[in-house]
Symmetry: C2
Subunit: 330 residues, 2 copies
């Protein structure tokens, strides 16, 4: 399928399930971007999840996000229970303007349903010349280092950095050892998981995907990853007046829908520190990237950008069975 065809299909399905037009446009772009970049778990496959969520009434389909500046460099968008994408679109201009005027600014998205990756947000900001950080909690699935009971979400952290030639430097990773979907995938095919991904309900390390899903996932990198997970809970939870992952899971009350909560995005304008020397220093950063790639190591997002190039030129391959499932939604 061409990317235009993917976009069209995404829009038709989202509209079919009653999502308001401005939300349809915003959500479809995220799905197209993910499919295009080879992030298939966040690509058209998600339309099935979206359709289910929309049908179940767990998303406010015609939410009108409300943007307000709570301080000179702080913007809040109340997503009113709708998807995060439109809320981000609506908060973006103020975030960018604040960052350009004061050097650094923050955007809080509250009360949103977040099912997507965070890289589209930080990539957008980096494409506008800003360094950007984003994070969001999810549902309490991950145990703290030294503990056995879930407290944290998979709590991703994303970062973007503008580059003069070509797409920005971007990373986006869960602070859990792996994505929850990865363990679910192992569970579905009955494949054991490696030690280090999860604990069973008795708090013992397990290779059973099912036991880990019932017990607790683990943070990446031991106590350091666990500390970062706490930071995400705080910054995109209480700091912005939104739910922690434990509160989100409690509010979900067993419905197993997408986490409802907040996201924090910080944007920094290098011009604020560097003024007329900005391009000189942004160029110096290229030496760092070169020192990584010339020794054969990969930059985060490198694979994603390669996939993007191919998709833009040749379109994307959607498995026939998935395509049938998608068409059946209409």
């Amino acid at each position: 399928m061409s990317l235009d065809q993917v976009r069209d299909l995404a829009r038709r399905i989202l509209s079919h399930y009653g999502l308001a037009p401005d939300h349809v446009a915003a959500v479809a772009e995220t799905i197209v971007a993910s499919e295009r970049d080879g992030c298939t778990s966040h690509g058209v496959y998600r339309l099935i999840v979206c359709a289910r969520t929309l049908a179940s009434g767990n998303v406010v389909r015609d939410a009108v996000p409300e943007v307000s500046n709570t301080a000179r460099s702080m913007t809040r968008v109340d997503a009113k229970g709708g998807y995060a994408q439109l809320a981000f679109e609506m908060g973006l201009p103020t975030l960018v303007e604040n960052a350009k005027q004061t050097g650094i600014a923050a955007l809080a998205i509250n009360n949103c349903v977040h099912f997507a990756a965070l890289w589209p947000e930080v990539e957008r900001l980096a494409n506008l010349g800003l360094a950007a950080l984003a994070c969001t909690p999810s549902h309490a699935w991950v145990a703290p280092a030294g503990g056995t009971k879930p407290v944290f979400g998979t709590n991703p952290i994303a970062f973007g950095w503008p580059r003069l030639d070509g797409p920005p430097f971007v990373f986006d990773f869960a602070t859990s050892a792996v994505a929850r979907g990865e363990i679910e995938l192992h569970h579905r095919v009955g494949k054991p998981i490696p030690i280090g991904w999860g604990l069973d309900t008795d708090g013992r390390p397990t290779t059973s995907a099912g036991d880990a899903l019932a017990g607790a996932m683990l943070a990446f990198g031991g106590h350091k990853g666990s500390a970062l997970a706490v930071m995400v809970e705080l910054l995109a939870g209480p700091l912005i007046g939104d739910m922690t992952s434990a509160e989100s899971l409690a509010a979900d009350a067993g419905r197993k829908s997408s986490p409802l909560g907040g996201e924090l995005i910080v944007a920094i304008d290098p011009v604020g520190f560097l003024g007329v020397s900005t391009n000189h220093h942004i160029r110096r950063a290229e030496a760092l990237f070169e020192a990584i790639t010339t020794q054969g190591a990969r930059l985060p997002s490198q694979r994603r950008y390669e996939s993007r190039k191919r998709s833009v030129a040749d379109g994307v391959l959607i498995p026939r069975s998935l395509h049938q499932d998608l068409v059946a939604l209409l």
Copy 2:
């Protein structure tokens, strides 16, 4: 020794090596705080390193840091080649004021010698009711994930969060698998290091501390820790017009002195998002900490605070041989 005696000794040694009085006061406080909190590697032991560095002329002993606001919410302190502590003290009031006025603000310390941990900085800010993030590159010792040659420093990240009762939530960790000093310690006593700490000069995993010191250290948590190390290089390097770890090591030209470079500190005022509801939400964060500690897991800094309590009450124990070495510096 009582903490007053530690302070007195630190001040006398630093003064003896020609450090200007305002720097003496600032550096001595960091050393007292580390010794008090049981961080002995950054405690009075560091006075030996300081004496050597001061004698070698690698620190400007009477540097007068210069504070300037480069944008509404961005402050720069040019440390003029001196220690970072006084520069931080001088930039702190403006950082705090900017954060309180605009909600979020950044402080860059440039051209400083940084030998200390970062937790004193974020703890200070958190004690003033702000959430705070700090990071700094060092010398290029750490290989990127998938690579074999050093590019990053040990690039610590520190975070602080205000708590209503008792000391703040604080973490401070290197993005390398372990501190370089840890490998040096193993090298000194001829103890093997675990696989995962370093690579030899041929890029092979090694258990030899000496080979890892000559080759490359590894990041914590694989490609995720490596990505964070890149972020630190960018944020506390090019973003603030200062050196990357590779540039710092090149500038050192084999003198093996403390890294010279920059530090970035971001402060966020919860009041900017939360207004009159601030204390309510800060209190909600306590449920998160409780969910961690009640299952027997430890909060980062918990051990440090316990050590602090003991030290304030009973003073600290300095090994006799270390005390003799310190007195011999005078």
